[in-house]
């Protein structure tokens, strides 16, 4: 593991997650929801975590941010933010980092908003918690922020209550709140899943601008490969609590290695060109953490499984591209072509 350093190089990863493993106490045996998750986030980078529901996306980020319930959750591994090990920090210090340097946007903006205060009051309060600024100054800043996230008539919107806003407006208000501290890292958990595509396009635009104007790094969690394709510099594909494939967006889309990634890509109906007679779906459903098969967790649904798959799969690595799978590199293009067609170049 990387030893903590006091003054990190500005090109160093802003976040390094190593061997993150998370288990929950249950009525029966504890279940391990996240196993050995490792990744870096570089400055100014958009990292996408993609996977179906239950694959462990939210639990990963909550444990990174120290937001899991310590009474029922056991977390191991290391999380280094700007050179500092943050899993071990006392609550109070972690809270400071969360408000000031790492901002969280969740799928449901209502969880971040209090129904009884206007959004202006909530944003101003957030600003004043981290900055010594007058009430009036904070309110003025709130109006500016609401304008920056594209709310129409920000000076009027600032006095609205959350329920008086549409879903898309609320999500933008939450983003404004997250921006109030110019976070170095923004963690967005399915920020557009509840929104219509037209509003989603606005919010994604906003996230892109944020990266461009403030150089923020973004972890964008989604189950939508389209969103990943448009936004991500690098991608982690999660399945049953593990990272089954990781790489640059080009690697994942042009030369995917893992059969689960193939299946995900093939399951999406195309928007142009000929329509396939049938979609190449993945059979069955994902396992739950309590019922993980031995060996490769994807094996029961994988059409390419062979004997070795009942053992824990190795992680192939090449040029920052990794996959947790037994399929030898030379066999990949041929097998992949049976799912995705042959048009993909082995870039």
């Amino acid at each position: 593991m990387i030893p903590p350093v006091a003054n990190p190089d500005p090109t160093d990863p802003i976040l390094r997650v190593g061997g993150l493993t998370v288990s929950f106490a249950t009525d029966r045996d504890p279940v391990t929801a996240i196993r050995d998750v490792s990744f870096d986030v570089n400055p100014g980078e958009i990292l996408s975590i993609v996977g179906e529901s239950g694959s462990g996306k939210t639990v990963s980020l909550l444990s990174i941010l120290g937001l899991t319930d310590p009474r029922t959750t056991t977390t191991s591994g290391s999380v280094i933010f700007k050179g500092k090990r943050i899993l071990e920090l006392p609550d109070r210090e972690m809270r400071r980092i969360r408000g000031r340097e790492i901002a969280l946007i969740s799928q449901d903006p209502m969880t971040a908003l209090t129904p009884v205060y206007t959004i202006g009051m909530q944003i101003a309060e957030q600003i004043r918690a981290h900055q010594s600024i007058s009430r009036r100054g904070a309110r003025k800043r709130a109006v500016e922020l609401l304008g920056e996230v594209g709310l129409p008539n920000p000076s009027e919107m600032v006095d609205r209550f959350p329920h008086q806003l549409s879903g898309g407006m609320r999500q933008r208000a939450v983003i404004a709140m997250a921006l109030s501290c110019n976070p170095a890292l923004l963690v967005a958990d399915e920020p557009t899943t509840a929104l219509d595509v037209t509003v989603q396009a606005q919010v994604l635009d906003l996230l892109r601008r944020l990266r461009k104007d403030f150089g923020s790094s973004i972890i964008l969690i989604t189950h939508d490969m389209g969103v990943v394709g448009e936004m991500a510099d690098r991608v982690l594909v999660m399945y049953a609590g593990r990272v089954v494939e990781s790489g640059t967006a080009e690697q994942i889309f042009d030369d995917p290695w893992h059969p689960y990634t193939w299946g995900l890509l093939a399951s999406i109906p195309p928007l142009r060109g000929p329509r396939p007679e049938r979609l190449a779906s993945i059979s069955g459903t994902p396992p739950t953490p309590a019922n993980l098969p031995p060996g490769c967790a994807f094996a029961p649904r994988c059409r390419f499984r062979f004997e070795p798959c009942s053992n824990p799969p190795p992680r192939y690595k090449d040029d920052g591209h990794t996959a947790l799978c037994f399929i030898p590199p030379e066999d990949r293009p041929r097998l992949r072509a049976t799912v995705l067609g042959g048009e993909r170049s082995a870039a």
Partner: protein
């Protein structure tokens, strides 16, 4: 009798047969607020003067942003909701305003499938009871044949017959949707109105159910109205597409026409907003400004004019009607995109 709007509602149908189901100038309003004081209540114009024909064997996809009235229209088509105005014809017979008795045969022939099938799956009953109930109530099959029919239904939706003894909570979301579909099929319907049937499912499971819809259509000669906000899914399953905006149909035509060359600026914006796995090079995107106006006080003129990049004075005052274009599709726009030269400004 068959006015221009009704004809426009039939545009680009593949079938020359008469429509199976036809809505003519159908409107649905919700009233809320203080209804006792006249004039003080508010009215939601959820579906506003919609004409739409569904032909045998086709899958008519109904798309649009949330709140545009898709579910309301779906529920009016199945007569789960009372219709405020207009006609509804099934096989040419008016059923929009008939009573429960005359409606009974129609209730069987037209089934609805929902996003969350749990509403129609009693949690305390086994799958076998859930599926057998409509068979008994409607006397669809003689008692002796019911067991065989249950197995057949499970087979149709791709579930092992052994699951008949299980309870709904023992299933995953995808499996529950299969049971919801089996329950609808038990009635031996001709038409299924499916309201966001795959929206709650993960992509890999969604693809399974989309395939199942296609298989069942072929095997059972079903006709679908398929409602969804996911435009890629709708493209995959539909033969024709109706695009809704604020309670009205703004474009109607064959799937390939509408997706290939959208004519309404709203359709164009909607399609361009979809993120695509392979569109990393950021093709020209139309980002619609502002939010959906309220259906309580819809804007005058064209309802889309408040967000339309091409709106002019005519659009702000004169409401465009759905009308056929030369290529056969219908559009409700004064300046369809296929009729203006596409400039670099888009």
């Amino acid at each position: 009798m068959t006015d221009a709007a009704v004809l426009a509602a039939r545009s680009q149908a593949e079938s020359s047969a008469p429509p199976l189901l036809e809505a003519r100038h159908l409107s649905k309003r919700y009233h809320f607020g203080k209804r006792l004081l006249p004039g003080s209540g508010k009215i939601v114009h959820a579906v506003d003067d919609v004409s739409l024909a569904v032909f045998p064997g086709e899958t008519l996809g109904l798309v649009g942003e949330s709140g545009c009235g898709k579910s309301t229209l779906g529920r009016c088509l199945t007569r789960l909701y009372e219709i405020s105005e207009g006609e509804l014809l099934f096989e040419g017979r008016e059923i929009g305003h008939v009573g429960a008795r005359q409606l009974k045969p129609y209730r069987r022939k037209v089934q609805m499938i929902f996003q969350d099938p749990s509403g129609s799956l009693n949690p305390r009953r086994r799958v076998a009871d859930i599926l057998a109930q409509p068979l008994r109530v409607h006397g669809i099959r003689p008692r002796a044949e019911i067991d065989d029919r249950l197995r057949e239904l499970m087979d149709l939706v791709g579930l092992p017959p052994g699951y008949l003894d299980r309870y709904p909570h023992e299933f995953s979301g995808g499996q529950r949707q299969r049971i919801g579909i089996a329950r609808a099929l038990a009635m031996e319907p001709q038409l299924i109105v499916a309201d966001e049937p795959v929206s709650a499912l993960d992509v890999s499971v969604q693809a399974q159910i989309v395939n199942l819809f296609a298989d069942l259509r072929d095997q059972l000669a079903l006709t679908y109205v398929f409602i969804a906000h996911d435009l890629a899914v709708v493209r995959q399953v539909s033969t024709r597409i109706a695009v809704m905006y604020l309670g009205s149909i703004v474009e109607l035509g064959s799937t390939d026409t509408v997706y290939g060359r959208p004519a309404h600026p709203y359709t164009e914006a909607l399609l361009s907003a979809i993120p695509e796995p392979h569109a990393r090079q950021q093709c020209e995107r139309i980002v619609l400004q502002g939010d959906l106006p309220s259906p309580i006080s819809p804007p005058p003129g064209c309802r889309f004019h408040t967000r339309c990049p091409f709106a002019d004075d005519r659009c702000r005052t004169e409401r465009p009607l759905l009308r056929p274009l030369d290529d056969g599709r219908s559009v409700a726009c004064h300046y369809p995109r296929t009729e203006v030269s596409r400039t670099a400004g888009t």
